[in-house]
């Protein structure tokens, strides 16, 4: 998978940087949505305390794990066509 960037044309480089940017944006968004979803599912909104309690901590761990599995299932479902489009973004 390693690429010798120095040998690419200006246009190929442009494409590569654009793909890398898109990929990074995708990961940042995935992370942000995971933070948001597990916050909704696990965190008590009364805010008596500034710490996560034991229940919240283990809920967050399970929530991230389940979220990740959901990413996998949805990825499979999006199937061949979209897979191809995503490959480009990778």
């Amino acid at each position: 998978m390693s690429v010798n960037v120095g040998k690419l044309s200006a246009e190929e480089k442009e494409k590569m940087y654009s793909a890398a940017t898109t990929e990074m944006e995708y990961r940042v968004e995935l992370f942000n949505k995971m933070v948001g979803s597990c916050y909704e599912k696990c965190i008590d909104k009364k805010f008596k305390d500034g710490d996560l309690n034991v229940g919240e901590n283990s809920c967050v761990d399970r929530c991230t794990s389940k979220y990740w599995q959901t990413v996998g299932i949805v990825g499979q479902m999006l199937g061949a066509a979209d897979q191809a489009a995503m490959q480009q973004g990778r």
């Binding site: 898109t22 399970r62 479902m77």
Partner: protein, 95 residues
């Protein structure tokens, strides 16, 4: 922006436009991926007593995803029709 409106577009500009459209499509489909995950997760996953998805949560995510894709495809058809009708009403020649 209808490509047919562009007369005499030089090849290097056309390439630039195509690249722009392509990168927008990739970005949009990745965004759709993320929001579909979020939607189906929020609708289907309610319990956090284990770290793996329950069988019925998994089934729910699958159905949710299937249904969303069908819904999205139907809206896409309607969207194209509505665009078309609006262009015709505005007196533009149908393309």
């Amino acid at each position: 922006m209808d490509p047919s409106q562009l007369a005499g577009i030089p090849p290097e500009d056309e390439r630039k436009m195509t690249a722009m459209v392509e990168s927008m499509q990739v970005r949009d489909s990745l965004r759709m991926y993320n929001s579909l995950v979020e939607k189906c997760f929020s609708n289907c996953v309610q319990s956090f007593r284990r770290k793996d998805l329950e069988k019925d949560e998994e089934r729910c995510v699958t159905k949710c995803c299937e249904k969303f894709l069908k819904h999205s495809a139907r809206v896409s058809l309607r969207f194209a029709e509505l665009n078309q009708q609006t262009m015709e009403q505005m007196g533009a020649p149908p393309s």
